[in-house]
């Protein structure tokens, strides 16, 4: 039985359709990612799954329990980390953890094994107030609190937003270990690079699911030929590339521009000469592998 089954779920706020007929399922011990821009409906979906709001239409179950009817039972089974830091800033690290343990009718000692990896990193600061922790440490504490009652499903809403690159990487390492412990994890992220770390990803925009598959398969579906173009003046480069005949899309990607062409056999030389003619220097053109971000951009254009 899958851990989460969502069937034709819809929710609107006044005139805005936050979720529009969404269906998917998440298997046990799967690391499932939701990728989408701000306002795409990720948080609304998570709030329904965590029994905070009720859907207008459709059903959703967690471990076979209905989110509307069995909300009380579900709350014991899930761990939720909202996008906003929502622990008590004026309580210490230790007090927060103890509080959430007690609220779930357990103790820190009882489930210490599960959070040891994470909590041991912030334990030196256990007397510090939660509000005074750094962004990365706050996330670790929030994750510890969400895990303290040994949930079977963990729902994380943009857990790494506002966290530095190193902490982000660490955080995902932890998620993998939790997954190996048999915990189902659903995570939303605006970072495309994190998507490739998931078992499966769902691309969501304007309340609609645009694609669900493994990261490698998402990449495989990319239909065009893609090039990475570098030049000294990246800003004019982007503009000039857009006016080159046959170009489908141009996106800045780090230090380079990702250019896609609808025709398969593009002549790199032609492009190179065109750019030289525009007065660019330091031009480097190389074929590129599509990544999740490219695929997502492509999907966004289609809709």
């Amino acid at each position: 039985m899958p851990a989460i089954v969502v069937d034709h779920l819809a929710k609107h706020f006044s005139t805005v359709k936050a979720l529009d007929d969404i269906s998917f399922s998440v298997g046990k011990a799967e690391l499932f990612g939701f990728i989408g821009p701000d306002g795409s409906g990720k948080t609304t979906l998570f709030r329904i799954l965590t029994t905070l709001i009720v859907p207008d239409m459709g059903t959703a179950t967690v471990n076979g329990l209905d989110v509307v009817k069995d909300y009380r039972k579900i709350r014991k089974d899930i761990g939720y980390m909202p996008g906003r830091f929502s622990l008590y800033a004026d309580l210490s690290v230790e007090e927060n953890l103890n509080f959430y343990a007690t609220v779930f009718g357990t103790t820190v000692a009882e489930n210490y094994e599960l959070i040891r990896d994470i909590y041991s990193q912030i334990e030196p600061f256990k007397k510090r107030k939660a509000g005074k922790l750094s962004g990365g440490m706050k996330q670790k504490l929030a994750l510890s609190c969400a895990l303290i009652h040994k949930p079977s499903v963990l729902i994380l809403d943009e857990p790494t937003t506002g966290v530095d690159a190193v902490s982000r990487l660490e955080f995902w390492e932890m998620l993998k270990r939790l997954k190996n412990n048999g915990i189902t994890i659903v995570v939303a992220t605006p970072y495309m690079d994190e998507a490739s770390l998931c078992d499966r990803v769902a691309l969501i925009q304007d309340g609609k699911l645009m694609a669900i598959s493994t990261p490698s398969e998402v990449i495989k579906t990319y239909p065009w030929s893609l090039f990475s173009v570098k030049a000294d003046d990246i800003f004019t480069l982007l503009n000039d590339l857009k006016s080159f005949p046959g170009v489908h899309t141009v996106f800045a990607f780090g230090q380079a521009a990702h250019v896609s062409f609808k025709e398969r056999n593009m002549d790199e030389k032609l492009l190179s000469e065109y750019l030289l003619g525009k007065g660019h220097s330091g031009i480097k053109i190389s074929p590129a592998e599509a990544n999740i971000e490219d695929c997502f951009m492509e999907l966004m254009i289609k809709t």
Partner: protein, 372 residues
């Protein structure tokens, strides 16, 4: 039950950790009690008087000296021009003008009747009413003395006269503080209870912690009880604290049974905290909560009978005031402390509070379930 205790423990931890909160709870009430009790008085002292004496006779001087000798009056101007006196009143430097016309004494002797004019600044009608009352009583006194001077003892005895004597029950010295302290104490615990409880749950909404709480198996009723219990305890403590200050500093009488005060206080605070909770369910930010709370507080306080007597309100206002919990508790406080009323005496007010408590808490919990 363990969860509930733990929530209460957590709340206390947060309250005592909040450096801004402690002074509000412990220092502000003392300061308020000291300031309000000493400042909020209706007793008139040093009414500023301008005397326009056109007569300059023995009688007129005698009359003026009576005002000069009174502790309530301070003659700040003596003039022959009414316009000059009026000018001073216009500038706000004079409260009362005593206008004694020319021929005051002559008329008194020849016609047995003479007139004096009092012009009173009635910007504040309460003060004006008191001023005119004092003025008249001094004039009556003056009249009596005149008779004593002009009539023989035999004639005096022939006059029929009713003597009035007052004895003031429950507050024999008409001590204003005795009357104010119990009322102001109610005000203090109300402010503490209403504001703190109204803002506390909203605060959890505002900083988002309620989101995390709501996904836990905590029952709403547990959460609310855990939130309100600490404020209930603090406010009752505040009441005890205020009563001690009242006794030690102002020596207010405590005739009745103090347990009766605390019993009613407990029920009353339950009402107030429920109102606070209700406010916090209909608002989303601490600011909104503050504004709504303030609105209710002002209406409750002004109609509580603390500053103005309820009996002098128009009938419809008295009917509305039956919905004012403050009014009941102030009555109970004054009855028990000053009169030594027993439970039977206060029971109509007490049961009103109980009805309020049931209604308000029911409403608040119902609203809270619906929104959150």
């Amino acid at each position: 039950m363990r969860t509930l205790l733990f929530i209460i423990q957590k709340e206390f931890l947060q309250i005592f950790r909040n450096k801004g909160m402690l002074p509000i709870i412990f220092v502000v009430p003392i300061v308020q009690l000291l300031i309000l009790v000493n400042a909020a008085t209706f007793e008139m002292k040093s009414i500023r008087v301008s005397v326009v004496d056109m007569d300059l006779s023995t009688s007129s001087r005698k009359l003026i000296s009576k005002y000069e000798g009174s502790p309530f009056y301070k003659v700040v101007q003596t003039t022959f021009s009414y316009d000059e006196a009026m000018d001073q009143m216009q500038k706000g430097k004079v409260d009362v003008i005593i206008n004694i016309p020319n021929g005051f004494e002559r008329k008194l002797v020849r016609e047995n009747l003479s007139k004096v004019q009092f012009v009173i600044n009635a910007i504040n009608q309460a003060v004006a009413g008191l001023s005119s009352g004092y003025c008249t009583s001094i004039l009556i006194d003056f009249n009596r003395e005149l008779m004593q001077d002009w009539l023989s003892p035999a004639q005096m005895a022939g006059l029929k006269n009713i003597q009035t004597d007052f004895s003031y029950w429950y507050n024999p010295k008409l001590n204003y503080k005795t009357y104010m302290v119990p009322g102001i104490l109610v005000l203090l615990v109300t402010i503490i209870g209403l504001l703190l409880s109204g803002m506390n749950i909203v605060r959890e909404k505002e900083i988002g912690t309620i989101e995390q709480i709501n996904v836990t198996p905590i029952r709403k009723i547990q959460f609310i009880a855990g939130k309100l219990a600490p404020f209930w305890i603090i406010a009752l403590f505040e009441l005890a604290f205020g009563l001690s200050i009242g006794k030690l500093l102002f020596d207010i009488p405590m005739v009745g049974n103090l347990w009766l005060i605390f019993l009613s206080g407990g029920v009353y605070l339950f009402v107030i905290l429920s109102i606070g909770l209700l406010v916090s369910t209909v608002t989303n930010t601490q600011q909104q909560s503050m504004l709504v709370t303030f609105f209710f507080l002002v209406v409750f306080i002004l109609m509580s009978g603390l500053f103005t007597s309820i009996e002098s309100m128009p009938g419809w206002a008295q009917q509305i005031d039956r919905l004012n919990p403050l009014m009941y508790f102030i009555k109970i406080m004054r009855m028990v402390l000053l009169k030594g009323s027993t439970f039977a005496d206060i029971s109509p007010h007490f049961w009103s509070l109980v009805v309020f408590a049931i209604m308000m808490s029911g409403l608040a919990v119902w609203r809270y379930r619906k929104v959150a």
